[in-house]
Amino acid sequence: MNYDVVVIGAGPGGSLAAKTCAERGLSVLLVEKRQEIGAPVRCAEGIGKKDLQKFVEVDKKFIAAEVVGAKIYAPDGTEITLTEEMAGNEVGYVLERKIFDRHLARLAAKAGADVIVKTTAIGMERTKDSVKVKLRRMGEEFEVGCKIVIGADGVESRVGKWAGIDTTLKLNEIESCVQYLMTGIDFDPEYCHFWFGSNIAPGGYVWLFPKGNNSANVGIGVMPSLAKRSPKEYLDEFVERNYSNGKIVEVVAGAVPVKGEIETAVADNVMLVGDAARHADPITGGGIANAMKAGYYAGIVAAEAIQKGDCSAKTLRRYDELWKNDFGKDLARKRKLQQKLIKMDDETLNKIMHTLANCKLEEISVKAMIKELIKRHPKLLWDLKDLFL
């Protein structure tokens, strides 16, 4: 069997890549190791409206809830409210990813991609200008030939390593997460909610994202290099304190790469997209939108390279250019900011939140917030001024 492109992993990144390749006339195979695309979920499911609309026609069946903004709580309880416009459309929809991920895979199939599930990519071998991808399906191994491999294999990615890109994460480059889908709890369903503090979630935060009908994703991410216990223990404490009457109807575990911009997501015949390329936002942990953008760019570059008959790293470097220009620089900046924030004690965090609660910002993007903070507390974030001002 031979294809122009084999895409490994059918998350948002992989499905968008497969769809884009197919739309540009390439033959493409989308491989997913799980038996059900999108399950088990590893996500809090929040996405900005604009980001979503860029790539799909919004359909009620995969939207669980809509919010108008975000509320952030300081360690001492100080509350800041960000409206949607202020937050620069960072918030908006809470998805039902089990349905959403399947919908994207179906769009790829509809565009002409072949899809196989319960099939794991276990290795690859490069020859002169082609690649043999080794697959294992229900215990049986076989090979598929192709010109380009797109690694969209998520946080646990192996494709990069096979191609010589070391994507191993250190304990300060990852957020370890647990989340409960809870029902029967009281909260303001118009907002996504975020709690910060070194006792609440060291190196991360606790979130609550509404999912309709008094239910919500209540979850936590902690940085293992700073956490004294597992995120589950911190989350259980938080839930006991705040939502002890709620019922937990689903448990989700996961990890988000928060390493920031990697040097390259490209090797000969190989491109990495989404979490596999560590494309998630180091501050928010959001990665769906960037995964879809990256998948789209990788699809475009794959089509160009195959038409040109040259799938070397040099040609594929164009993909690095595209994702870096779009959101790579932002990842690098956010990583620097994250390194600052995780060093702050609760007192400093409180001080920052008080400042933000008291000042009238026209726009509360991360950038606008940092700008204001540098003005008011120059010592705190001074070395970031060149990045954000």
Binding site: R34, P40, D166, T168, S176, S230, K232
Partner: protein, 60 residues
């Protein structure tokens, strides 16, 4: 005996965090479960620290 890591399958929630941090490629999320390659695992314990579910333990 040499150190290595073992997984408690009843706790593991199939998330991949441990795979992302192992530089020895000693673990793998197979279709529906985690496997640890005893030959490759040196018991360094990095994955234990990242596991959100406390499902991993170094034993000797």
């Amino acid at each position: 005996m040499a150190k290595r890591v073992v997984v408690n399958r009843y706790r593991c929630a199939y998330c991949g965090a441990c795979v992302a941090v192992c530089k020895f490629n000693a673990n793998e999320l197979v279709e529906t479960f985690l496997v640890i390659d005893e030959e490759k695992c040196n018991g360094c314990g990095i994955c234990v620290k990242v596991c959100p579910m406390n499902a991993l333990e170094v034993v000797s």
